[in-house]
C-alpha cells in the first residue's frame, strides 16, 4: 500500500487489536497453565534422575533418553536396542494409522449421507452421531469387551447357531484395540468431513456429470479434492488421540498388547521411573509432530500435482 495510514486510523487499528487480545486472554492463560506448563515440566523431568520410590531426583541425567531406545543388561552391562519399546511405538503408529484409515472408510460415506439429507433432518442425524459421547468412554469400552470376549454376545450367538465349534479369540488382540479405537474416534472423523461437505456445492457434481465424468471420477476428481480440508482435519483428530490412547488398549488389549499411552503410564506407576515416562511422552510428541508435518507435505504435494 502506498498510502500511509493517518494517526486516527492507526489508533483505531491499535484499539481493535487490543480489544481482540483482551477477549482471548482467558483462553491464552488457560493454555499457558494447563498445556505449556506441564509440557515444560515433562521436558525437564526427562533430563533428571529417577528416585527410588518414584518421583525425581534433581540431578541432571540423560539416562532416561538413553533408555527410550536402548537397554543395558543388568548382569553384564551390554547395551542393546530396546525391542520392547520399539515394538510398542511401532504398534502404536500402525494401529493409529489403521484406525484413521478405518474411520475414513466408514466416516466419509456417513458424512456424505448426512450432508445430502434435507436440511431439516440433518440435525437429527448429527444428534445421533453424538450419542456415544453421552456415555463414559470406559463404560463403552467395557460394552465392546462384553460383545467380543470368548463367552461374549458374538461368540455365544455364533456357537448356539452352530456356525462355529469353539469361540473365536478376539479379545486381547490388536484387532480388538482397532475395533475399539475406530468406534471411539469415528465421530471425530465424521464431524469435520460433514462440515466441509455441508458447504460443498452439489452443483459441482452436476457439472462433473455434465462434463462426462462417471460417478467414481466425480468422487475422485471433484468431491474429494474440494472437501480435502475436512478429510485432513478428521484424520488429524483421529490419528493424534489414537496414538496416545490409554483406556482402549488397556481394556481391550489386556495387559499384553501395550500402546505408548500404557507404556508411559507404566513408568509413572509400577515402573517408578518418572524420567523415562517423561522421555517417552516427549518422544511421542515428536512422533506426532513429524507425522503431521509429513502428512501436510504429502497433501500439499498432491495438491500441486492435481491442481
Amino acid at each position: 500500500m502506498s498510502r500511509t495510514l493517518s494517526a486516527l486510523e492507526q489508533e483505531q487499528i491499535r484499539r481493535k487489536t487490543r480489544a481482540n487480545w483482551l477477549l482471548s486472554t482467558p483462553a491464552l492463560l488457560l493454555l499457558l497453565f494447563a498445556a505449556s506448563g506441564p509440557l515444560i515440566i515433562v521436558v525437564i523431568y526427562s533430563f533428571l534422575s529417577s528416585g527410588n520410590y518414584g518421583g525425581v531426583v534433581w540431578e541432571f541425567s540423560t539416562d532416561a533418553w538413553f533408555n527410550v531406545l536402548y537397554t543395558k543388561d543388568i548382569f553384564d552391562d551390554t547395551v542393546s536396542l530396546s525391542d520392547a519399546h520399539l515394538s510398542i511405538f511401532w504398534r502404536s503408529v500402525q494401529l493409529s494409522f489403521l484406525t484413521t484409515v478405518l474411520c475414513l472408510f466408514f466416516g466419509f460415506p456417513t458424512a456424505y449421507f448426512i450432508a445430502t439429507r434435507p436440511p431439516s433432518t440433518r440435525n437429527v442425524w448429527l444428534f445421533l452421531i453424538t450419542i456415544p459421547f453421552w456415555t463414559n468412554l470406559l463404560i463403552r469400552t467395557f460394552a465392546i469387551l462384553e460383545l467380543i470376549r470368548n463367552q461374549g454376545v458374538i461368540n455365544n450367538s455364533l456357537m448356539s447357531l452352530g456356525l462355529i465349534q469353539e469361540p473365536i479369540r478376539m479379545l486381547y488382540t490388536d484387532f480388538a484395540i482397532l475395533v475399539g479405537m475406530a468406534y471411539v474416534y469415528l465421530p471425530l472423523m465424521v464431524l469435520p468431513i460433514y462440515a466441509s461437505m455441508e458447504r460443498f456445492d452439489f452443483r459441482f457434481v452436476e457439472a462433473g456429470y455434465d462434463l462426462y465424468a462417471s460417478r467414481i471420477k466425480v468422487l475422485r476428481r471433484i468431491i474429494i479434492p474440494i472437501i480435502k480440508p475436512g478429510i485432513i482435519a478428521g484424520s488429524i483428530l483421529v490419528f493424534v488421540p489414537s496414538l496416545g490412547a490409554y483406556v482402549t488398549p488397556r481394556v481391550l488389549g489386556g495387559g499384553k498388547r501395550l500402546m505408548v499411552g500404557n507404556l508411559i503410564e507404566l513408568q509413572f506407576g509400577q515402573g517408578k521411573n518418572w524420567p523415562l515416562g517423561a522421555a517417552l511422552a516427549v518422544t511421542m510428541l515428536v512422533i506426532v509432530m513429524v507425522a503431521l508435518i509429513f502428512y501436510v507435505r504429502l497433501v500439499q504435494k498432491s495438491e500441486r500435482n492435481h491442481g
Binding site: 457439472a207 456429470y209 455434465d210 462434463l211 462426462y212 465424468a213 471433484i222 479434492p225 474440494i226
Partner: protein, 366 residues
C-alpha cells in the same frame, strides 16, 4: 425435411404426489433444429429450467421421449450425452485453474494429451482468456468466470450447448457485451444453442427461434418477429414487450374455412377487416391486441379508432410513452419516437384521438 438435433416428444415432469402434485412440465413437444439459437422464454416457474435439465439428463421425465440426432437419450445419464451445460451459477471447479477447468471434459473423454492442450488453447483464444489461464476461478471477475464456463462447456464440442440464464448475474453493460459474444460463438462453432431466459429483450435480440412457456406448457414457438408481431395468446403478447388489450365486437365473419372477418370498437361505427382465429368464429366478442408503437396520437378525435384524455407522459430518450385514459375508463399506451423538430406534443389533460391501422390489430385466441 428439416434437420432436427433435439426432438422433445410429449415430455412431462411431475414432482411429488397428490395432493401436492406439481406439474413442472406437462406434455411438451418441440423440435430444435441443427445449428439453431433456440430460446426457452418464460417467467420463473414456467418449466423452462426443468426442460433444460431433462435435456441435460439431470432429471428424468415422468413420461415422454427425448431424442438427440434421432437416438433416444431419455434414460441416458448426463455423462453419456453429447450435451454440455453453462450453469447459471457457472459451477466452475474451485480447486482447478482456468485452463484445468476447460480441459476437464476432454480429460474425462480420454482425449490424447496433445489434443487436449490444443483444444484448451483454442478455447482460451475463443473467449479471450489466454492471459488468465493459470488463475484460480475465484481470482477472476464474474464476466471472466462466465467466459470460462462457456469455454469449458464448448471444449468437448458437444452436439448441443445448454445455457441456463447465464447472463442473469452480470450487470447491464457486461450483459449486452456477452449477448453479442454468445451469438458470435454460436455462429463460429456451429453448435446448437438452447438458451433459457426470462428476459424478453435478450430472447428477441439473440434467438433464431423462441419458445414462450408458461405453467409447464409451450404456448408458441416462432421467430422473434413472429413472437413479437403475431402472438397467438394474450400471455405471449403480454410477456413480450408492451401491449394494449381492447375488447371489441366481432361484426362480420366469412363462412367456412376462411379466417377473415371484421371487428368494431365500442362507441365507434367504423369496422376493421381482420383475421379471426378459428376458436373465435362463433363468438360475439374478442380481445384485440395493439403494440404501443403501432398506434398514433392526434389532437383531432374525428375518425379516431379510440378516444381518451392524456393522463401521463414518460420520456425514454428515444421515445415517449403517452398514457391515455380511454373514455370507458381503461388504460391505453401510445409510444412515439422523439424527434429534434419537436412535432406533436400534447399536454396532460388534453382530449386526444388514437389512430390504429387495420394491419396493426391482432385478434387473440384467448
Amino acid at each position: 425435411m428439416v434437420d432436427d438435433t433435439i426432438r422433445i416428444e410429449g415430455v412431462g415432469k411431475y414432482f411429488g404426489a397428490e395432493p401436492n402434485l406439481v406439474k413442472a412440465l406437462d406434455n411438451v413437444s418441440v423440435n430444435i433444429r441443427r445449428n439453431e439459437f433456440f430460446t426457452l422464454l418464460g417467467p420463473s416457474g414456467c418449466g423452462k429450467t426443468t426442460l433444460l435439465r431433462l435435456i441435460a439428463g439431470f432429471e428424468s421425465p415422468s413420461f415422454g421421449t427425448i431424442l438427440l440426432d434421432n437416438k433416444d437419450i431419455t434414460t441416458l445419464p448426463p455423462y453419456q450425452r453429447s450435451v454440455n451445460t453453462v450453469f447459471q451459477s457457472y459451477a466452475l471447479f474451485p480447486h482447478l485453474t482456468v485452463a484445468q477447468n476447460i480441459s476437464f471434459g476432454l480429460e474425462m473423454l480420454n482425449k490424447p494429451k496433445h489434443e487436449i492442450n490444443q483444444t484448451v488453447d483454442e478455447m482460451l483464444a475463443l473467449v479471450h482468456m489466454e492471459e488468465l489461464k493459470d488463475r484460480r476461478t475465484n481470482q477472476i471477475s464474474g464476466g471472466q468466470q462466465q467466459r470460462v464456463a462457456l469455454a469449458r462447456a464448448l471444449a468437448p464440442k458437444p452436439d448441443v450447448l445448454l445455457l441456463d440464464e447465464p447472463l442473469s448475474a452480470l450487470d447491464y453493460k457486461l450483459r449486452r457485451g456477452m449477448q453479442i459474444e454468445l451469438k458470435r460463438l454460436q455462429l463460429e462453432t456451429g453448435i446448437t444453442f438452447i438458451f433459457v431466459t426470462h428476459d424478453q429483450e435478450e430472447a428477441l435480440t439473440m434467438s433464431d427461434r423462441i419458445a414462450v412457456m408458461n405453467e409447464g406448457h409451450i404456448l408458441q414457438v416462432g421467430s422473434p418477429d413472429e413472437i413479437y408481431n403475431d402472438p397467438q395468446e394474450r400471455f405471449v403478447a403480454d410477456f413480450i414487450g408492451e401491449s394494449n388489450f381492447v375488447e371489441v365486437d366481432i361484426v362480420g365473419k366469412a363462412s367456412g374455412a376462411s379466417s377473415s372477418g371484421s371487428i368494431r370498437f365500442a362507441n365507434s361505427k367504423k369496422s376493421y377487416p381482420v383475421k379471426i382465429p378459428a376458436n373465435k368464429k362463433n363468438d360475439k366478442k374478442a380481445l384485440v391486441f395493439i403494440r404501443p408503437e403501432h398506434a398514433r396520437l392526434d389532437g383531432k378525435t374525428r375518425g379516431a379508432t379510440l378516444t381518451g384524455t392524456l393522463a401521463n407522459k414518460l420520456f425514454f430518450g428515444t421515445d415517449t410513452n403517452y398514457h391515455i385514459d380511454l373514455d370507458d375508463g381503461s388504460q391505453f399506451v401510445v409510444r412515439a419516437q422523439n424527434t429534434l423538430e419537436g412535432g406533436f406534443s400534447p399536454a396532460v389533460g388534453d382530449k386526444l384521438g388514437i389512430f390504429v391501422d387495420e394491419n396493426a390489430l391482432k385478434v387473440l385466441k384467448d
